[in-house]
Chain length 424, copies 2
């Protein structure tokens, strides 16, 4: 859509947000049955309308060179029969999750007979800003609406046609099953100014969720007048304790680093207790090197691992998201914990140990969204934790921490039943 | 304390916040026993040091005319044996509350054997900005530290000496019982610029809580780079349904409006179903008028209540915090709900009804922090809900809504116990 001038753009954003607010009021009272019917029928319809969606995707693919997209980015943009089916399966999985709305989280009967219930309710309107993967369009819409929220989707221009085709299907089905028409809206302009307008509309929008590179997230966090669920970097550590099963340690380090390298819960740094360094590091270093991982370590690491180069202070701060790992030999558990406090990003840390005391101290003192004992860092994930699909992993401590599923998209209210009580 | 120049002031704020961050790391691992010992011994010591605290309070009272404080404000500032005892009792009450830290909120065992625990942890560092009541100094410190957080207290200059005397006692006891010395810090300057510096230090401070007038809260919300628990206005409604016990309705309206008028959960607006208006309003209007309440109503209200004057649109938006109430006669429950959505502040709304359907619809559609059925709005309060002491009532929907007690000052982390699991 062409937005003629700056005033029209602002008015467009206000209109979209205002309609979302209206829709959210209606959505809060919609039954789980209707929301699930929407998800199931949308899944069916996406498969049925495969041809139209692939045609829209062809438009985006044709434009991709003009946007300077790399081969990997073009691959992420590309849809296929299998990928459309995967999107539909994602909707069906969200339908299978319990409806969070209306859950009584806590309750008590007060001495004066008042019944106080704390009841889960939707947040209201969510503004979701993301980059160019068309499947995210459907995932985000499903999670927001299932949790009773209206959603405003602002996708990357690179996937504009694909996202529009998907949202048109979701919105058409919404009306058919009895959801408000504006439960799911796609921002129909790629103008960057629009994001700024939406981020100022805190009277209509209750939460902003940016998903993409760190610069996007920082921009949204700086500009937003409403709360933001942020996902900053994951500089995740594995610490191998003095009292560790070293075969388990090797397996966990290799999995944490190598199983998928471009993701936030992959390990970027290894800390090894001095007592086990000479036994563990030569073997583990060779294993990692064989898998193409570059090892950057302190002096002791370089004595023990032939392939290791020198780690700078900056290395210990870096989320590589690729085939590099920083390594440090530490004298004590306390030193490991201090290192993590100084260099970590509070995302995911793992200890490998057989010592109950070491495990308990690590758990108590490491302030990360997930602390693992004898398990790969890669498990910090909504599916792996049993939350169902996730909309992101929060690196904040306020409202939501770690994987954000349906519950993290809700608030609560107190509902109080009385029989005429007044306060003395 | 005199802060020589702007650079020194900024450095002072950074030092205070940095020390609070260090203290918070230690505090997160302190047992409930030690925190309770601090509260109990602080209570004892405040009573013992009554003479010194009253002397400090005399300094503040002597300076009060210079700050232009009104009689009511001077009364709120004044301490006495009874009021110091009440502060001490408040600390003892917080000691009696369960320690929220370490609570396992949820847990599951995954199919692969991973044990996933969601464990309550402190937020970290709280910056608390409040006006001139000395008792708030002790209350806020108690709640923040009991929930495992370090606190930076910024009180009003009018109570500077009293607050310092209280904090010196709390801090001295902290060191004696084994809490970090910087668990509780008072900002030792009344320079307004200091607030701005603290609000920028999101690397050290996890949460800001302003308590005071709306302009203070708006300033903090606008400037803070960290999350804020806000408490905006309470434009609370009582709706008397067509199917209501009218004696109960009268009792609830009178209590909601008159029991304490200057507080956020007092009723400011009354909505009456047309079917019962002619029976209820003449009697209720006379009752309110006899209690000195000014009634501003729509045309129908003015027909039924002699003393009523005309209500403007602005009246329906106003939180009077005093002896005035706006009244409107509505044709339907839906009209009442729409009115509340348009004019309310999402704080506290009450319905008086015998109809299950009306109660359920009101609860489902009114989006307020507390929705009461057949009870006074005045019950929206941490003590009344059984949360124990509260640090405020949040009008936000993110993280904390309604009364904020100990749990609302916490976050959580995932703790995952494995036996060597890696991700396939």
């Amino acid at each position: 859509m062409a937005i003629a001038d700056a005033n029209n753009l602002q008015q467009y954003c206000i209109d979209v947000a205002g309609r979302a607010r209206e829709a959210s009021r209606e959505l809060a009272g919609v039954s789980g049955e209707v929301k699930n019917a929407w998800l199931a029928e949308s899944a069916r319809r996406l498969r049925e309308q495969e041809a139209q969606i692939l045609a829209a995707n062809e438009h985006d693919l044709a434009a991709a060179p003009g946007y300077g997209l790399s081969g990997a980015a073009v691959d992420r943009l590309r849809l296929s029969t299998e990928r459309i089916d995967a999107i539909a399966v994602g909707l069906e999985q969200v339908a299978a999750l319990a409806d969070p709305v209306g859950e009584v989280i806590e309750s008590s009967v007060r001495p004066n007979g008042l019944e106080v219930l704390k009841v889960r309710v939707p947040l209201g309107v969510i503004f979701f800003i993301y980059e160019s993967r068309p499947n995210v369009t459907a995932d985000a819409a499903a999670l927001c609406v299932k949790s009773g929220n209206a959603v405003i989707l602002r996708g990357g221009k690179e996937a504009a046609h694909s996202s529009r085709a998907i949202v048109e299907t979701l919105a058409a089905v919404a009306v058919e099953v009895g959801l408000p028409a504006d439960a799911v809206q796609l921002v129909e302009t790629t103008d960057r100014e629009a994001v700024g307008h939406f981020l100022s509309l805190s009277q209509y929008i209750d939460l902003a969720i940016p998903r993409g590179g760190e610069s996007l997230i920082r921009r949204v966090a700086a500009e937003a007048k409403m709360p933001v669920i942020k996902h900053f970097s994951g500089n995740c550590h594995v610490y191998v304790d003095a009292d560790a099963d070293l075969e388990m340690a090797q397996r966990i380090v290799v999995n944490s680093k190598c199983q998928r390298m471009g993701v936030c819960n992959a390990a970027e740094s290894l800390l090894v207790h001095a007592n086990v360094a000479s036994e563990l590091l030569p073997k583990l270093g060779a294993d990692l090197a064989r898998r193409g991982i570059e090892i950057r370590g302190d002096a002791r690491t370089r004595e023990l691992v032939d392939a290791a180069s020198e780690a700078s202070d900056e290395d210990y701060r870096t989320e590589y998201l690729g085939p590099t790992i920083s390594v440090k030999v530490v004298g004590t558990l306390d030193e490991a914990i201090q290192h993590i406090a100084s260099y970590g990003s509070q995302h995911t840390e793992s200890i490998v140990t057989n010592s109950l005391n070491a495990a308990r101290e690590f758990v108590a003192r490491v302030d990360s969204s997930a602390v693992m004992i004898n398990a790969s860092t890669r498990f910090n994930d909504g599916f792996e934790f049993g939350l169902g699909a996730e909309i992101g992993i929060s690196t904040d401590k306020f409202h939501a921490r770690g994987p954000c599923g349906l519950k993290e998209l809700t608030s609560y209210k107190y509902v109080v039943y009385g029989t005429g009580q007044v306060r003395e």
